[in-house]
């Protein structure tokens, strides 16, 4: 066997460009645009990663179906925008009307995602919790739910992506390092940051947030201290859903033709990788991990060529982080963050 394999390795005729090529000139040339674009994607990853992180903190469970919670939000956003007359061409209505429509779309998207997350918790996870099921059962249910939602969408909307929706044409706003920053990038990053700070503040300051932290720290003691654990779990799922629904609008803005029945799947893995990179269970870690992953992914894509390399790179990052530092960069968990 071993001589055979050795022979195999030696006899490979051309290993040069049929496997992996590094395009360094393109990387150097497009470094700054890729950086700002990567941060934009990173903000979206961060918002989705928060959903993974919150549920993980409270339940110690990877909610595989969170990517489907997100994609349902995308469908909600696209549905509202197409109903309001948006299409592939930029709209001709006034700026204020566009902003109003976008607000409506984000609200519907958040609602759709939150309802999906709520139903998921209610009908898939809660019966298992009540039965004291083993951990494996939760994970199997999660993956079953994920594909069940995906293929429900598939049966309703078919295999093709939804028609693209353009909300506004990105206009250059200012210039940094010879690179123009457009209004779309600013909108996404600023809005995502506001949402994440709001979520962070909610968890640190509010009464419910204190409950979430208590349950994450020690569910039994929290219950004894009068925290309604079931309610906290439901709220956590709903918050994760709301943030995913908001991310849905930004995703549709950034990639107008990316709304497909299985479009959330790879994004979910990337967001999870972001959560692990920043430190799973850590709210600020989700943001940091998201932004870093957005950058790494974009640089890798530049260096290696095809856009699908971002997915591969996110996966490699995930495996490397697990190998070197499984607690992530910021480590710790929601539980240990102080108010």
């Amino acid at each position: 066997m071993i001589p055979l394999l050795l022979h195999l390795a030696v006899s490979q005729p051309h290993l040069d460009d049929s496997w992996i090529t590094f395009d360094i000139p393109s990387f150097l040339q497009n470094f700054w645009p890729a950086t700002f674009d990567g941060l934009t994607f990173g903000a979206i990853y961060g918002l989705i990663a928060l959903g993974y992180t919150l549920v993980y903190g409270v339940l110690n469970l990877i909610n595989f179906a969170h990517s489907e919670v997100f994609i349902v939000g995308c469908y909600g956003v696209v549905f509202v925008l197409t109903t309001l007359g948006f299409g592939p061409n930029p709209p001709t209505i006034s700026i204020a009307a566009v902003i109003g429509d976008m607000l409506l779309a984000i609200l519907v998207g958040m609602l759709a995602s939150a309802v999906t997350a709520f139903l998921l918790e209610r009908f898939a996870y809660r019966p298992l919790r009540h039965r004291n099921a083993p951990r494996l059962a939760f994970l199997i249910t999660a993956i079953g739910a994920s594909f069940a939602i995906q293929y429900t969408i598939f049966l309703i909307r078919g295999p093709n992506p939804e028609p693209s929706v353009t909300m506004f044409v990105p206009e250059p706003v200012f210039e940094v390092f010879g690179t123009t920053i457009d209004s779309q990038q600013i909108t996404i990053v600023v809005a995502a940051l506001i949402l994440m700070i709001a979520a962070d503040t909610f968890i640190r300051r509010s009464r419910v947030g204190r409950g979430i932290r208590a349950v994450a720290q020690d569910p039994d003691t929290a219950t004894l201290m009068g925290v309604n654990r079931e309610r906290i779990i439901v709220i956590t799922f709903v918050i994760g859903g709301l943030l995913a629904g908001a991310a849905a609008l930004f995703y549709v803005m950034k990639i107008p033709s990316g709304v497909q029945y299985n479009g959330g799947f790879v994004l979910g893995i990337k967001a999870f990788a972001a959560a692990v990179l920043g430190g799973i269970g850590n709210v600020r870690g989700a943001l940091l991990g998201g932004l870093l992953l957005g950058l790494i992914g974009n640089y890798g894509q530049l260096l290696l060529g095809a856009s699908q390399w971002t997915d591969v790179i996110a996966f490699v990052v995930l495996v490397l982080v697990l190998l070197v530092r499984p607690t992530g960069i910021l480590g710790t968990s929601i539980a240990r963050s102080r108010a």
């Binding site: 049929s18 110690n60 249910t141 293929y151 893995i269 996966f315």
Partner: protein, 397 residues
């Protein structure tokens, strides 16, 4: 770390009693719909078991030739090829059962190992590939070795951590393999590799026996492989390794404390599972004669998992049955074929909530050779058990 597996608030007497109740008194009834069959089987003598097995095996071999009228697939689905598909899924389920059923590790990217096996076989035999060409049958062990390498490569970083990480890393791997097959030019993307090799031999008319359209010899080949794998896996199950797996599945911390090298045996289980996945991938590539990047959707992993869970995780006969059912239903009832992912996804949720043990439950039994020893140990352990559950059961009612 405080796990939140469920409301294990205060271990009071009542809940402890409940636990005992669950484990013992209602044990036989909880085992499975067909637990009677298991009891019946255990009561037979060795010659009777052998005779029965021979009949089953002969019937299994005769299946594609018999083509039973009601069982057969609907027009449009070739019956011998359907048999091959069923056998292939059964083989995959047996492999995944080692990972999920025995060691309790969730592998959600099993299709990736299947893909690696397929590509290994294709790239070593197809005239489209620039590599060294070896006879098809030699690619099977090579494919197993390559996939086992990937299994170890993925397992080592993740198996030290909690099971959830393994699940998502394998889920990612399932998709990544497909993406890599698309974007790395050497894998030919959608064009793929034509004319993948097959085992040697020609029939009277000079046509190869193992042709793509002739499912019967392929079915027999896979069935033989299944029997060999079942013997090997069965031996592993009853060995030190198998006992370690069950200990890890039931309680990893306890197993570690009792001196089981948990990490080592988890890697073992994962690598063996991966190897069987690669084996089935190589067989599938040979039968189809064509490999490209379109055949390895990550959702197929979910079908594989559904096969194991449906049949009964931890029970190899259950896994066989589950695999065959998952492959058979969409071929028999073509009307449900478009809905199969939805159906099996929902089935996973429903099974987990209402019947976590699947159709054929894994039986909690002494994993050791020797029927007489087993009977003696059972007889001895039965005595103290009988008194407690009756008192307990009386109180419950």
């Amino acid at each position: 770390m405080s796990t939140t597996d469920g409301p294990t608030l205060i271990p009071d007497a009542e809940s402890a009693k409940d636990a005992i109740d669950r484990e013992t008194s209602r044990g036989p009834r909880k085992l499975g719909w067909y637990s009677r069959a298991g009891d019946w089987w255990a009561e037979r003598s060795r010659p009777q078991q052998w005779a029965f097995l021979v009949i089953v095996v002969v019937l299994a071999y005769a299946l594609p030739v018999l083509n039973p009228p009601i069982i057969t697939t609907e027009p449009g689905n070739d019956w011998p090829i359907a048999c091959f598909q069923m056998a292939l899924y059964a083989l995959v389920a047996v492999g995944l059962n080692v990972v999920v059923g025995y060691a309790g590790l969730l592998d959600l990217g099993y299709v990736a190992f299947f893909a690696v096996g397929s590509y290994t076989a294709a790239m070593l035999t197809s005239p489209d590939s620039p590599f060294l060409h070896i006879p098809y049958l030699w690619t099977v062990p090579v494919a197993m070795a390559v996939t086992m390498f990937f299994g170890v490569f993925l397992g080592v970083p993740t198996l030290r951590l909690r099971g959830d990480y393994l699940a998502i890393v394998t889920l990612g791997f399932g998709e990544i393999v497909r993406i890599l097959a698309t974007i790395i030019p050497a894998f030919h993307g959608q064009v793929g590799f034509q004319n993948v090799g097959h085992p040697p031999g020609v029939d009277g008319t000079g046509r190869p026996i193992f042709s793509n359209s002739n499912g019967t010899p392929w079915y027999w080949l896979v069935l033989t492989v299944i029997i060999i794998i079942l013997l090997l896996v069965g031996n592993l199950e009853r060995s030190r390794v198998g006992r370690a797996w069950v200990a890890i599945r039931e309680d990893e911390d306890a197993a570690e404390i009792m001196g089981v090298p948990v990490f080592k045996y988890k890697v073992w289980a994962f690598a063996i599972g991966a190897g069987i996945g690669g084996l089935s991938g190589a067989l599938a590539a040979g039968q189809l004669g064509f490999v490209n990047n379109q055949k390895f959707d990550v959702v197929t992993s979910m079908l594989f998992l559904a096969a194991v869970v449906l049949g009964g995780a931890g029970n190899k006969v259950g896994a066989l049955l589950g695999g065959a059912i998952v492959a058979y239903l969409p071929l028999r009832f073509t009307a449900i074929a478009p809905y199969k992912y939805l159906i099996f996804g929902l089935a996973l949720i429903i099974i987990m909530i209402f019947r976590a043990k699947g159709l054929l439950a894994a039986r909690q039994k002494l994993l050791a050779y020797g029927k007489s020893t087993y009977a003696r140990v059972i007889a001895r352990s039965e005595q103290p058990r009988t008194s407690e559950p009756t008192a307990d059961g009386g109180k419950k009612q």
